[in-house]
């Protein structure tokens, strides 16, 4: 099987373009999932607040864990496309990690002053604000990562 260098170059460009377009078409992670994980953290913080009846704590945590498992299964088995690890790049992962850490920092920034003022459910309020922060910024971060991955593929 022989082809001309021009055809080979066209095939390579075509493959690269297809990959970049596909990566750009979908957010790198669904914001509903990260928002759901943040809500899970909020629920656990609420259920483990000192003074909560043990039966309530156990019931809420079991229900939340079931919801988390369902979300994870939906993500793993129902996504339109999940990027392969070979196209994931360090900058995107660092950006994602930075965003998660910033979200946790937002929770602490709200919870600590409230806890200092002896407000009940300070941790829950912190996690609620974190959830709102993640819901608002998650789609932007997911799109940013997708664009980075696509740009990397295009530059190969």
């Amino acid at each position: 099987m022989n082809i001309s260098p021009e055809d080979a170059a066209r095939s390579l460009a075509d493959a690269r373009t297809t990959q970049a377009r596909a990566l750009r078409a979908e957010p790198s992670f669904p914001a509903w999932f990260t928002t759901g994980v943040a809500l899970f953290a909020t629920g656990v913080t609420f259920a483990t607040e000192p003074g909560t009846a043990p039966a309530v704590t156990v019931t809420v945590i079991v229900a939340l864990t079931a919801a988390l498992v369902a979300m994870t299964l939906k993500l793993a088995l129902g996504s339109r496309m999940r990027a392969h690890r070979s196209v994931i790049e360090r900058g995107a992962m660092l950006g994602y990690a930075g965003w998660v850490l910033s979200s946790v920092a937002v929770a602490f920034a709200v919870a600590f002053p409230l806890a200092g003022a002896e407000v009940r459910y300070a941790g829950t309020y912190g996690c609620l604000v974190m959830t709102a922060f993640m819901a608002a910024t998650g789609p932007l971060v997911a799109r940013w990562i997708s664009r980075r991955l696509a740009a990397r593929v295009e530059g190969r």
Partner: protein, 101 residues
């Protein structure tokens, strides 16, 4: 002997395989839209790639709707990378630049 893989080489198949190479798994409708082929054309190519052992097909549901997902097998990924290397070797030997414009 150029190392080009005749199973992957047709343009539509190369697009399908290259998309799957960038994905852990991709849903049939997503691949169809990105590669810009009809359901029947994608179905035909997917079956050929599955028969060659390059693609694995999984059927499932999203809610109550049936869905199909495609993924490149280890053998398919290896074949794709070898095919791309062969294309790059042909281009490299000619002095054509692959840098995007």
């Amino acid at each position: 002997m150029t190392g080009l893989d005749p199973v992957i080489h047709p343009p539509a198949r190369l697009r399908i395989v290259s998309l799957l190479a960038a994905a852990e798994e991709a849903e049939f409708g997503f691949v169809r839209d990105q590669v810009e082929v009809s359901d029947s054309v994608l179905s035909k190519h997917a079956s050929a790639l599955e028969a060659a052992g390059y693609v694995e097909i999984r059927k499932g549901y999203v809610g109550k709707r049936p869905r199909t997902w495609l993924r490149l097998s280890a053998r398919g990924r290896q074949a794709y990378l070898a095919h791309v290397s062969a294309l790059q070797a042909i281009v490299a030997g000619s002095g054509i630049s692959l840098t995007p414009e």
